[in-house]
């Protein structure tokens, strides 16, 4: 930071001292009646609002920062608050002060590249957030119907199986669901990495990764991956690790949504990943039970559905009309001058299932809220199909209309091929006893499944996905042994990229695979296959 001259400091001091006037300060207070498990019951605070932040100036933690909390329960004779920090320092009889601030965070373009906590404080040791910031509330009503648009623009994940079979559009909410250790986070991180390609385009996608109740080491690892791949420049990490108090984990996704809305409402595109919402539901259950709200199914409170629905409703594609967008409901005053239409917020919530049980309470809730789900399967993962996407039960309800044209054409037969293959897979061991058409189906399916395998942190640009699928669609790969598919893939892509760089560029910008280029792709593939087969024989 630049050197500050002594007279400048004095000037600042004088200015601040002149504010040291005789005006009395007016504020509302209450007294702590009882405290425990991070919850305090307060007497007084008669005018306090639900969701308001309160300060306990007398209860300071080891570093001298006073305890803060949020009002959750307003009852007849007391107020229930949840404490964010210094819960151990709070004692009976302590003073609680209203702040008249609904829980909110300061957001600006300066948050990009940073790691923040759910209250907006940077926790990466790189100092305060630079540049202009505006205060936005954590809880905000989702945009109404007239301010929205159907999903029409694609959001490429860079994962072949998803972009071809379960396409995601900007403004969509697509659930990533699966057991532990099935690669849910990898799918999410790959998607963030793939947005790098959009950064030089007209419509860059900014990414927000919300880590809820995860190990701090996992978060550090994700930060490292994003940093190494140059993805932090356009990303924000909102971190509330497992060591955080339940209230922090509860508000973390809302903080992520607020950052996303900042980009959405300023006419830009954002992608938010909530990893994962089952942990948030658990944190909310803890709070609700401690606040003595009645438990329901699996001991979750009655409003756990609303908890997730109001969060995910905030993902939207905003109408591409500045005049209409400016009239959007519930825009905070601070944001009003910056509002622009045409932005979007895409959400990829993550849910962890227990032993593949998608009919548990939270998974069924979130499945019904979202516009489709990507189901990751342990058996597939263990058999080496990675990403372990179960194509049969994964769907995207709105993404189809956002898919790139030529991709849509190619993926039509793909899903059928795979489905038939999975059906016949059990008969594969009969080998040559099968009739030729069944054998052909098996051969095609096996190769398609192999082609859809992809290494982690290596997202593919959409144009490369298209040429690969084109080759598969005409059945060229059927001649290749399955083990040679990945070799073919890398050799083929290299050849096409060097030989037809102009056509590839055109395909990337228009999304249309011309017949002429399609023929060239096929002949290139044929020659690469011949090479590989020749090398094998030799």
């Amino acid at each position: 930071m630049s050197q500050v001259r002594p007279d400048e400091v004095s000037a600042i001091l004088r200015k601040q001292l002149s504010g040291f006037d005789n005006e009395a300060d007016v504020y509302d207070v209450g007294t702590v009646l009882e405290v425990g498990d991070g919850i305090a019951r307060v007497y007084g605070l008669s005018n306090v609002e639900a969701g308001e932040l309160v300060v306990l100036p007398d209860s300071k933690d080891d570093e001298g920062t006073p305890a803060t909390g949020m009002v959750l329960n307003l009852e007849e004779d007391n107020v229930g608050i949840v404490l964010f920090n210094a819960a151990n320092a709070v004692e009976e009889g302590d003073v609680v002060k209203r702040t008249k601030d609904i829980a909110s965070i300061n957001i600006g373009d300066g948050v990009l590249g940073r790691v923040i906590d759910p209250l907006g404080n940077p926790i990466d040791g790189k100092g305060p957030i630079t540049g202009e910031t505006i205060k936005l509330p954590l809880e905000r009503k989702a945009p109404g119907v007239i301010y929205r648009e159907p999903v029409t623009e694609p959001l490429q994940t860079g994962i072949k199986a998803i972009d071809a079979l379960i396409p995601i559009g900007r403004g969509q909410r697509e659930l990533i669901i699966g057991d532990r250790q099935t690669g849910k986070t990898s799918v999410a991180v790959d998607t963030i990495l793939n947005q790098k390609a959009t950064q030089n385009s007209e419509k860059p996608v900014f990414c927000i990764y919300v880590a809820i109740g995860q190990k701090a080491s996992t978060v550090a690892n994700i930060y490292k991956v994003l940093e190494e791949n140059g993805a932090m420049e356009y990303s924000v990490i909102v971190s509330s690790p497992a060591s955080d108090a339940a209230p922090m984990q509860y508000i973390a996704p809302f903080a992520g949504a607020t950052v996303g809305e900042y980009f959405r409402d300023t006419g830009r595109h954002a992608l938010v990943i909530y990893d994962d919402l089952s942990k948030q539901a658990v944190a909310y259950r803890e709070l609700s039970l401690l606040l003595k709200r009645p438990p329901g199914r699996e001991a979750y409170p009655g409003d756990v559905f609303y908890l997730h629905s109001r969060l995910l409703e905030r993902s939207a594609k905003i109408i591409n009309d500045d005049k209409v967008a400016r009239q959007m409901n519930n825009i905070p005053e601070t944001l009003k001058p910056k509002v622009k239409g045409g932005g979007s917020l895409t959400a990829l919530p993550v849910i962890e299932t227990q032993a593949g049980d998608v009919s548990a309470y939270i998974p069924t809730n979130v499945i019904s809220i979202t516009d489709g789900q990507i189901f990751l399967d342990t058996d597939l993962f263990n058999s080496g199909t990675r990403p372990a996407i179960d194509v049969g039960i994964s769907v995207s309800r709105v993404g189809g209309s956002a898919q790139v044209k030529s991709m849509k054409k190619l993926s039509g037969t793909l899903k059928l091929d795979l489905a038939q293959y999975r059906e016949l897979e059990a008969f594969a061991k009969f080998g040559s006893d099968l009739d030729p058409s069944t054998q052909a189906q098996l051969r095609r399916g096996e190769r398609t499944a192999e082609l859809l395998k992809q290494d982690v942190y290596q997202p593919l640009p959409v144009e490369r996905e298209i040429v690969l699928l084109k080759v598969n669609s005409v059945g060229l790969l059927d001649k290749l042994p399955v083990a040679k598919i990945s070799e073919f893939q890398s050799q083929f892509l290299e050849t096409v990229l060097t030989k037809y760089s102009k056509e590839i560029e055109e395909l990337a910008s228009t999304g249309v695979l011309t017949d002429d280029f399609g023929d060239k792709v096929i002949s290139t593939a044929q020659s690469v296959i011949d090479q590989i087969l020749a090398a094998q024989e030799a």
Binding site: M1, V4, L17, G19, D25, G44, D77
Partner: protein, 184 residues
């Protein structure tokens, strides 16, 4: 003090009956007498709250303490509480009654905290201002708190009007911390 719902209902019943029989002031005097007696004797409070002691013993004790010193209505009320096995919340009922009486009589209790004792003229002046702003009869609870350093603090219900030097200094400290500039 947190007053339970039950206590508030008993207090309302007593006040309404007193209003009907036009003996509000006498009842208040009785209630204040009960409050002072309990405040002065910790043993009595423990005795009333104890779950071990039989309700009939509590009733007898209350009768012998207050019996001939309070009016007929108040006596009946103490008896009612004992027979309903609510002697343990007598303190809460008394507090609730005083709160409700104050509201009925348009009296407001205001806490005033100062660093130094106020003189008579200042107190009167303050009272006049407070009565004008609240348009109620003001009862001031004055206390000295040297750590406030100067100025004064007024608390009306939950709202604090803070003009103390201590608070000003705290605000200044926060302002400096918020605008702290990193040198070099």
């Amino acid at each position: 003090m947190l007053v339970s719902k039950a206590a508030r209902r008993y207090a309302t019943a007593l006040l309404e009956t007193a209003k009907e029989q036009k003996v509000v002031e006498e009842t208040l005097k009785d209630i204040l007498f009960i409050k002072n007696t309990i405040d002065d004797s910790k043993e009595l409070l423990v005795f009333l709250k104890s779950p071990v002691i039989k309700p009939s013993d509590k009733e007898a004790a209350l009768k012998s303490i207050f019996g001939n010193k309070i009016s007929k209505l108040s006596n009946g009320f103490v008896e009612l509480i004992s027979s309903k096995e609510r002697a343990s919340i007598l303190v809460e009922i008394v507090t609730a009654f005083i709160e409700q009486y104050n509201e009925y009589a348009g009296i407001i209790k205001i806490e005033v905290r100062t660093a130094h004792a106020l003189d008579k003229a200042q107190i009167n002046e303050l009272k006049k201002v407070l009565e004008k702003t609240t348009s109620k009869k003001v009862v001031m609870d004055l206390k000295e708190q040297p750590e406030l350093k100067g100025g004064l603090l007024v608390k009306i219900h939950d709202t604090v009007i803070d003009g103390t030097v201590k608070h000003k200094l705290e605000q200044l400290e926060q302002m400096f911390l918020a605008n702290s500039v990193e040198l070099n």
